[in-house]
Amino acid sequence: MKTIGRTIVLLACLSAGCFAQWEVGVSGGYSSPSSVPATSGAASATTGFAPAAVFSIYLGQDVTRYIGGELRYSYILGDARIQSAGTTATFGAISHEVHYDVTVHTSNKNRVQLFAAAGAGIRLFIGNGQEEAYQPLMQFAYLTKTRAVKPMGSVGGGLKFRLAKAVSFRVEVRDYISPFPTEVITPAMGATFGKSLMHDLVPMAGLAFRL
């Protein structure tokens, strides 16, 4: 009940803008999504998205000296792909993520802050490659020009180092957890995928500006 009460107070304060410690930030990183095993008869492959760059912006607010929240948007460039026996099939793809995380950190009066974050949001997967009648390894999966929206969980943590009164350097690692987008990477007829969840571990670094 205590937690629920604090959360209500936090959200109420956010909506009312009752605290003054707002900040915006930009960061870049590298997406390392987990792959999913695929089998077709006796043959096997892995499929998923290629590691790629991530660009992110966020709006954050310290609700208290130790608790805050962030609304974050990330853009991830990761082609869809299938790999088997030295052969790789790729297909252009991108992702958009929007999520809100609650952060718990050391005192925001300190020059260096450690923080942990957890939250939820959505991830939009877009297959935007050039479709071809024949795609290598299509016995495992079809890489598809379409889009899929999936719920997403976010956990992670990092460190903020104040460079100046209103500028901080920030490094962090996030794990974005979402259902695998089988609309974009569709199991081929007669093929099966071994997992239904996808983890995307993203180390990032950036700058935060206090408003």
Binding site: E132, Y134, Q135, Y142, T144, T186
Partner: protein, 1023 residues
């Protein structure tokens, strides 16, 4: 330097004259008379005018491109002979030819006109200037009777580049009917980038000079040349100066060898008629070159004496189209910057030819080059076939068709395009002719601006006992060769400059590769990978990598050599090349450019360096043969035999690496030529031993030997006694041997002609499955066991070719399976489809049906449009008639073709997304807003009706009479078109739009229903 004045002063010299109306066009284009004789033109795109040098009126006429009339005329000094416009259109340079015999009238000078200010300056030259061309440097190359000079328009200074005497010495005055460029005998032109100038001097008289100036490196190269007929002073250059059309010949920039890349075949001499322009962007040469078919003796024009503009490939001068012009081109031709309009000096002045906008002009063309009709047990009565007559620009153009051959009826014999003309042949008129009769069908039009092609009608009337499957190949074929390793057949087509590659398994055309001009003979290099092709009108040898089916670098022949025959041994690769008489006449220093035959020599090819050399001697004998000599290499590469029409036979030994035998035991030779791996040779009907000593003769009772192929110690002889008779083949167990019983072939082999004394009319396939003969209609494929007894055919099943189902509809395409259905595997070459292939035919309810393909176990054919219910089918071959097979035929039975391929995927439904032009598959799924093309068979009658065997028309389209319903996952799709696929036989096309809201999934049924029949395929649909 004399200052003549500036803009205001010039105004007084500008004579505004009444623009004469363009002459009414007798053909294609417009003539603008200049009231004198034009000697040169320059196109000023920036001002929208053409400057015409009026040689006899001493003026520069300024002709507006907008209204095609003379707007003004600028008086200049006497005899303006040549023009050059600077690249920035600032200056117009005029060369005045003043080579008067009476010195007081001497006026050798150039006039520089500043087009921005109107200023005119004159600069005297020591002797008569003959031509000029501006360079990228802003300076001009000026050629006089004795010098090449660089002229700087900014300073008026001349700088002598080189001297060369006697580029022209024709004096003024001269008798009437001497044209301007007969005086100057010189022309030059710059590349579009201004860095290269090509030219020719002394054109029209004996020894000529071809020259090329490289402005970037200030290098002038000259090439003495002798030409038969003479090259006229007409020069056009491609964009980068790497090629130039001079007279009738296309030159490359290598002045050391292989300089003539191609030349117009069979040009005839003319005093002043010739002109050309190169469109480098579209790889086209526009040219008028008088030839034997259109000698163009000048006006009045009638009969074949008409001015003809040939539209040719800039690669090898293949003539693709010929248009009739109002009058002859007698000077420079230039193409507008957009390539749409050709301006040329013509008899009356300037001729404007809208070469880039041909569609509005009436033209007539035929849908087929050949029509092949064969009497068979299926067609004992009148033989019929249709040809389409059309206008490439979709105009309604009048035409007539005619033939002088008795027994051939053309219906209708006249009309308006588009039209279908039925050719009917009464076999009774061809009684006794058991081979093929070639008949010309002439197409004419009163209004068409093109020269319509002639259609070749081939009537083959064999008995059932004659063997071979004829593959009709249009055009003039010069050589046929079966690949010694690959299952391919090669055919040289001279009139289109093509190497045709056929798949020996089904005799279908597999590839078409361009050669040089007039390919004459071919053979493999010793590596067995590269095919060498000799040309009668190119000074090089084409090389093709037959593993890749791609051309390789050509072999450049020495000056003046045109190879006709080539053969490779284990040591040397040899060619026989004609070389005219230039080598002796000029001490071997001139490039001979000959349109005709002449003395020949043997050249040795260097395949590593892509060059060739001419040895002084062939062993202990002189290197001199006639143009009708030919070569044949032994299959093991040990030797090469040379047979000459004058009766000489020579033998080259690879082991000795020299010519080891030369004899003259005959007064003349022609026909077959062959070499064995065992030291025997064939020349004509004669068998020779390894020393070229005659040791026997071939059986002459079957006619002259047209071809011989050694097989081990024996060989195959093909012979014929008349072109329209049967061919004969003998399989000799040894050579020489007693005559064996000949087997009659369906038609005669080709016979030696005026351009080729020796023929290779037979070539066994490496697979040992069949033998290819070069015969009257093209090639004839003869089964290896052609003389074995044959058995009647048998039908086991008939299914739709689209999906293998037994849903058969009138007009549908079917596969007939069985045994002994045909003695050979042959595909129909083009539509309309024949009803006989390889002496096999199929009758449905007693009438023959069109055939796509025949082979022993399978026939693909099209059902007639007018049958339904329970119908009978039989196959007839030389072996007899099959038992009657019954099949149920519906009015409509749509079947989607399941014949698509993508990568390794086969059997895909023929459903194509317009979005990317690829078949729908799970990785190329259907999306909302897609347009789909679905290809089917069996959709029944159309409006207008299309006869079986004929392709679907494009204008108007043939729409199905029973509209189909198309659904995707149960939801209706709007049908945009349902009818025959244009250009395809028996293939229908349904175009649909996919709206939003369609069901999604991996297996969504796409269903087409028509007239109670339904066909379904499952496709993936994704939003």
């Amino acid at each position: 330097m004399q200052l003549h004045g500036y803009a205001a002063a010039v105004t007084g010299f500008l004579l505004l004259i009444a623009s004469p109306a363009p002459l009414p066009a007798a053909g294609f284009g417009t003539v603008i008379p200049v009231g004198g004789q034009a000697s040169d033109i320059a196109l000023d795109n920036s001002r929208g005018v053409v400057y015409a040098a009026n040689f006899t009126a001493n003026a520069i006429d300024v002709i507006s491109l907008s209204d095609q009339s003379i707007h003004s005329s600028l008086n200049v000094a006497a005899q303006p002979a040549a023009l050059a416009l600077s690249m920035d259109a600032h200056y117009l340079l005029v060369a005045h030819y003043g080579n008067w015999t009476a010195q007081p009238n001497q006026q050798n000078l150039v006039t520089l006109i500043d087009l921005t200010t109107g200023g005119i300056q004159s600069f005297p030259t020591a002797d008569s200037p003959l031509g000029a061309a501006f360079l990228a440097t802003g300076k001009a190359l000026v050629v006089t009777q004795t010098t090449f000079q660089i002229f700087d328009p900014a300073t008026g200074a001349f700088q002598i580049l080189n001297t060369l005497s006697g580029l022209s010495s024709v004096p003024l005055p001269n008798p009437a009917a001497t044209y301007p460029q007969q005086f100057t005998e010189t022309a030059l032109a710059a590349s579009a980038d201004g860095y290269v100038v090509w030219g020719v001097g002394k054109a029209g008289t004996g020894a000529q000079v071809v020259f090329r100036y490289d402005a970037a490196h200030n290098l002038l190269a000259t090439l003495p040349a002798l030409s038969t007929p003479p090259l006229l002073a007409r020069v056009s250059v491609n964009a980068d100066g790497s090629q130039a059309m001079i007279g009738f010949a296309l030159f490359g920039s290598n002045f050391t060898r292989g300089v003539v890349l191609a030349q117009y075949p069979d040009p005839v001499a003319s005093l002043n008629i010739t002109g050309s322009a190169i469109d480098g962007v579209n790889n086209i040469v526009y040219a008028q070159v008088p030839d034997a078919a259109h000698p163009t003796a000048g006006p009045p024009f009638s009969g074949s004496n008409v001015p003809v503009l040939s539209i040719m490939s800039a690669s090898n001068l293949t003539v693709n189209q010929q248009l009739i012009m109002p009058e002859d081109i007698v000077g420079r031709a230039v193409l507008s910057a957009d390539g749409q309009t050709l301006y040329a000096v013509s008899e009356s002045g300037l001729m404007v030819l809208p070469v880039g906008q041909l569609n509005p002009y009436p033209r007539v063309a035929a849908g087929q080059e050949d029509v092949f009709l064969q009497s068979t047990p299926c067609s004992k009565g009148v033989l019929t076939q249709s040809i389409s007559i059309f206008d490439p620009g979709n105009n309604h153009t009048d035409f007539t068709v005619s033939t002088t051959q008795a027994g051939v009826t053309l219906t209708p014999s006249s009309g308006t395009t588009p039209a279908i003309v039925q050719i009917s042949v009464d076999p009774a008129a061809f009684q006794g002719q058991i081979g093929t009769t070639a008949i010309s069908i002439a197409i004419a039009s009163k209004t068409a601006v093109n020269i319509p092609p002639t259609v070749r009608l081939l009537v083959n009337n064999p008995a059932a006992s004659q063997h071979g499957a004829i593959v009709d190949i249009p055009g003039r074929l010069s050589d046929v060769l079966a690949d010694p390793v690959r299952n391919l057949i090669y055919v040289l087509r001279q009139d289109k400059n093509q190497l045709l590659v056929y798949n020996a398994a089904n005799s279908a055309l597999a590839a078409t590769l361009p050669t040089g001009s007039t390919p004459a003979g071919m053979n493999f290099a010793a590596d067995g990978q590269h095919l060498l092709v000799a040309h009668d009108n190119s000074q090089n040898i084409s090389v093709f990598d037959m593993n890749a089916l791609q051309p390789s670098a050509t072999i450049a022949l020495p000056f003046g050599f045109y190879a006709r025959s080539v053969a490779a041994s284990n040591a040397q690769t040899i060619a026989v090349a004609r070389n005219g008489s230039a080598a002796s006449a000029s001490g071997g220093s001139s490039a001979w450019i000959g349109a005709e035959g002449g003395p020949s020599q043997v050249a040795v090819l260097d395949l590593a360096q892509n060059t060739a050399s001419v040895p002084l001697a062939l062993g202990v004998w002189t290197n001199s043969v006639t143009e009708h000599a030919a070569l044949a290499a032994a299959p093991n590469g040990a030797s090469v035999v040379l047979a000459d029409a004058n009766g000489t036979v020579m033998v080259y030994s690879a082991q000795a690496n020299t010519w080891v035998a030369a004899r003259h035991d005959f007064t003349a030779l022609s026909g077959a030529i062959a070499a064995s791996s065992y030291g025997s040779y064939i020349a004509g009907n004669n068998v020779l031993d390894g020393s070229a000593v005659p040791v026997g003769t071939l059986d002459a009772s079957v006619g002259a030997a047209a071809g011989f192929a050694f097989l081990n110690q024996g060989g195959l002889l093909i012979a014929g006694s008349s072109a329209s008779g049967a061919g004969a083949m003998e399989n000799l167990p040894s050579v020489p041997s007693a005559a064996v019983k000949p087997t009659q072939l369906v038609e005669a082999p080709v016979q030696p002609g005026a351009s080729s004394a020796f023929t290779r009319a037979v070539s066994p396939l490496s697979s040992g499955t069949s033998i290819v003969a070069h015969t009257i209609s093209g090639i004839t494929v003869i089964a290896w066991n052609y003389d074995a007894p044959v058995t009647p055919p048998s039908i086991s099943s008939v299914v739709s070719v689209a999906d293998g189902s037994q849903n058969l509809a009138a007009g549908g395409i079917v596969n007939i399976y069985g045994s002994q259905l045909s003695p050979s595997s042959v595909s129909a070459g083009w539509a309309p489809l024949p009803t006989t292939l390889a002496q096999s035919c199929v009758v449905v309810n007693g009438a023959p049906i069109p055939l796509f393909y025949v082979s022993g176990p399978e026939i693909a054919a099209q059902l007639p449009n007018n049958v339904s219910g329970n119908v009978s089918m039989s196959v007839l071959t030389p072996g007899g008639q099959s038992a009657t097979y019954y099949l149920n035929v519906l009015g409509t039975a749509p079947s989607i073709f399941m014949t698509g391929t993508a990568g390794p995927l086969t059997g895909l439904a023929a459903v194509v997304r317009w979005n990317n032009g690829q078949l729908v598959t799970p990785t190329n799924p259907i999306h909302p807003t897609d347009y789909l093309e679905i290809y089917l068979a069996g959709m029944g009658a159309t409006t207008p009706a299309v006869a079986a065997g004929m392709p679907g028309p494009s204008n108007p389209l043939a729409m199905v009479q029973t509209a189909p319903l198309v659904t995707l996952g149960g939801a209706s799709l709007p049908v945009l078109y349902a009818g025959m696929a244009p250009g395809e036989v028996g293939v229908y096309q349904v175009d649909v739009y996919v709206p939003g809201g369609m069901p999604q999934g991996l297996q969504i049924p796409l269903q087409i229903s028509q007239g109670g029949s339904t066909t379904t395929v499952n496709e993936r649909v994704v939003n």
